[in-house]
Symmetry: C2
Subunit: 470 residues, 2 copies
């Protein structure tokens, strides 16, 4: 007998006798209706048993979370809400679930509570839906780039250089604390860290393969306990030879739209569920903080509209003349060109002023990284950030500085050690070309797509300060 | 003007005037023929210039590795070896490459030399081909599982538990060496490591999503300097609820065949090149060490033949009665049931006795991990290894022990701390089901597929003892 998944059973076009199906009990009511789920879809399969013919000891063991095997007839459903149901001929308890001990009961659990049970929370409808969406988005990422003839590369996780300046790093060692160690005796013979970005290595590979992308874990050891930060998260970093900043912005926009569109096509049921969840959550907010769109509307809005593109200089001008700036409503008042934009400013531009995703480009040189291409004005670099409603920065990218001497000058200004990055400079010594790339924090995209407000709820086992359980 | 990739130009069906193409110079001969490559394909594009009309200062700069932009007419090729070539109307040097300094010259470089230049080796034809194949294989992995409704999950890289016993681990810390640190003041408030496997977490997710897979980096801090070991490598780990060991073996075999078949369909040119490379390498070996099949034959052989399945007990019997055992040719003589198979034994079974991939199952309990399901004989567990010619073990898997009490007993025997794995035991407390999974070291698969003999040459920037450069 072939193993049936519920998603396949529910998409049948006719009844069938004597099918076999496995799943976990979600609910059992009236001693008659068992809703089981096997994770293949958000939809439960209704199994109808004849309690008079079922052993009482078995009935008692049909509890939430128990694993059962059902043999029965798949018939068109008598009740509403599902196309098919199973008339049970035989039921077998495979794994019990003691209702007095099982923490995941058929009631509303807080997300905080479920984080403590990260090994079991996948059994709730919400996490089941979020993680299916995460998987579909992951594959959409690969699918998009592969169809465009980009090559997937795995840049190193353990890195011997700490020169990138992208944030605080975790140390990797085989030595013990508390002893007087010589770093030369460590596994790699030198101090090593967990990577904060695969960009520089991806650039090296773009100089041979043309268009490449990474999709792997990256790390930040910053002690930030927010709803937007993880110590360990997955990042997508494409890098393209011969791309200028406009090509880069075009690709970022096309990419985001493509993966979100794929999501709307593949995850209708999960999105509907999360949409309702999102609406309920919104209801509990003060009316002035509620989102104007529901979850599905927000996704479709991004898919269907052009992202507004403005230079940093234009952004500053809009912000300077904005009502909240004039009325001193911003915590950080915008007085002059050159300041770094704060979250409140980005949110104003995206959520109030343009009401759509915004790409800001040509940022002041002083507030950006050493590898970004310096513009002819010498004041700005070819950087770009994509800002999303509710999420803030979702993509950061730039055209890279391909001119050896300019790059060296920038490194000196920013105290980046040339000797550490000798190999990166080689890329500009031999066959250097204009090239560009961006980074997208994958969890931010999953947050946007699922409406989950805390980033810890869109990755299976989140890593944050004081938390590396499971 | 649209940016053209060489792979697209070469697959055109007619000539076209005034196309624009970018690439790096591979060779320049007779002051007339420039072969350029842009990484999109192993094939070079031949660009023919009229040297009499070309500025001498430009001609001098057309050197190996230089980046150029060409505008010209795509015409059917006059010479042999390519369908199209470009009659150059205009050539622009984008990035020079000083031939006296550029390390990658159009001659044979040793793989050892190229490892020192890991940032530039992607510009060689060999690494260009290997890394395209790696990318195609990666996508084939995702494609296979997604089509089967498996969900991709990202299990944590930083782990707080060291109870898995799969090997020596790297420590992750934000503290300094050489001081008297309190581990409670570390970032996570406890000792943390880099993961050796995502299996246990994947099991937790299989209990909610049914069928899941991981594909991410894993780490071993073992000081082994071999051609088969990396400190950092990528592993694929599917985990399936309700799968027994036979289902597991079926899936592993189907999976390997599917991804290798996809490779033969998508990477014909790269495989042809690597096949020749492999044959040349074989020629330099003593005749008794040469492979009987070339690279493409080996891949097709795996795709087209059933893997031989034998129990450990059968394997021991074959080995005990084998010629090399009787003639004391094995370093480790097989005398009794229960010993761990060595690489020489596995190679004999695969390469000499069966001459095909072999799956060995039902290993002695004593030599296997705590989480494998104990058979009724109490002597063996439901483990399986897939062994490949030339590569050795490529897959290791098992049916997992779903019975709480048996699992606890095995943990006690192997001194695995129950308190560390309380959450893993919960999976058997609530709705436990028979389930199975396996792990496949991705670099071993790339090694097999490319014929590269050293695993350091199938990952962009290898991490090995004393080596964390770039």
């Amino acid at each position: 007998m072939k193993m049936n998944k519920i998603i396949n059973l529910l998409s049948r076009n006719k009844s069938e006798n004597n099918i076999e199906v496995y799943g976990w009990v979600k609910t059992f009511r009236a001693n008659r209706f068992i809703a089981i789920n096997d994770g293949s879809t958000i939809l439960n399969l209704q199994c109808v048993i004849d309690f008079e013919k079922t052993d009482k000891s078995v009935l008692k063991r049909i509890t939430t979370g128990a694993a059962i095997k059902v043999i029965g007839d798949l018939i068109e459903s008598q009740g509403s809400g599902q196309k098919f149901e199973v008339k049970v001929n035989h039921i077998l308890i495979i794994g019990d679930s003691d209702p007095d001990l099982y923490p995941i009961q058929p009631k509303k659990h807080s997300l905080e509570f479920l984080r403590e049970k990260a090994h079991l929370r996948i059994r709730t409808t919400t996490f089941n839906a979020v993680m299916r969406i995460r998987s579909v988005l992951s594959f959409a990422v690969h699918d998009f780039f592969q169809k465009k003839n980009f090559f997937y590369i795995n840049t190193p996780i353990i890195t011997g250089s700490d020169a990138e300046g992208a944030g605080e790093m975790f140390k990797v060692t085989t030595q013990n604390y508390n002893t007087n160690n010589d770093v030369k005796e460590d596994f790699f013979g030198k101090e090593t860290h967990l990577t904060v970005s695969g960009q520089l290595e991806a650039e090296s590979y773009a100089m041979g393969l043309g268009n490449v992308y990474t999709f792997g874990p990256t790390f930040r050891a910053e002690n930030s306990n927010t709803t937007r930060h993880l110590a360990e998260f997955w990042m997508i970093e494409p890098e393209m030879a011969f791309f200028n900043l406009n090509d880069n912005m075009d690709l970022a926009e096309e990419f985001i739209k493509a993966v979100l569109e794929k999501l709307t096509l593949k995850c209708e049921d999960d999105l509907l569920f999360l949409n309702n969840r999102y609406l309920n959550e919104q209801k509990n907010k003060p009316s002035n903080q509620r989102s104007e769109m529901d979850l599905i509307e927000k996704i479709n809005f991004v898919v269907k509209n052009s992202f507004k593109r403005i230079s940093y200089t234009e952004a500053i001008s809009i912000l300077k003349n904005s009502k909240p700036n004039k009325k001193n409503k911003f915590k950080y008042k915008i007085n002059e060109w050159g300041v770094d934009l704060q979250s409140e400013h980005e949110r104003f531009l995206v959520e109030k002023h343009f009401k759509c995703p915004v790409i800001i480009y040509d940022y002041p040189t002083k507030i950006k990284a050493f590898y970004m291409r310096v513009n002819d004005d010498n004041k700005t670099v070819r950087a770009m950030d994509v800002l999303f409603p509710g999420i803030g920065e979702i993509v950061g990218g730039s055209q890279r500085e391909e001119r050896l001497e300019v790059l060296k000058k920038r490194m000196k200004e920013l105290h980046v050690d040339e000797n550490e990055l000798w190999w990166y400079l080689d890329l500009r010594r031999f066959g250097s070309v204009p090239h560009s790339g961006f980074g997208l924090g994958f969890e931010r995209l999953v947050q946007f797509s699922t409406g989950m407000s805390n980033i810890r709820d869109v990755i299976p086992f989140p890593r944050t300060p004081q938390n590396a359980s499971f």
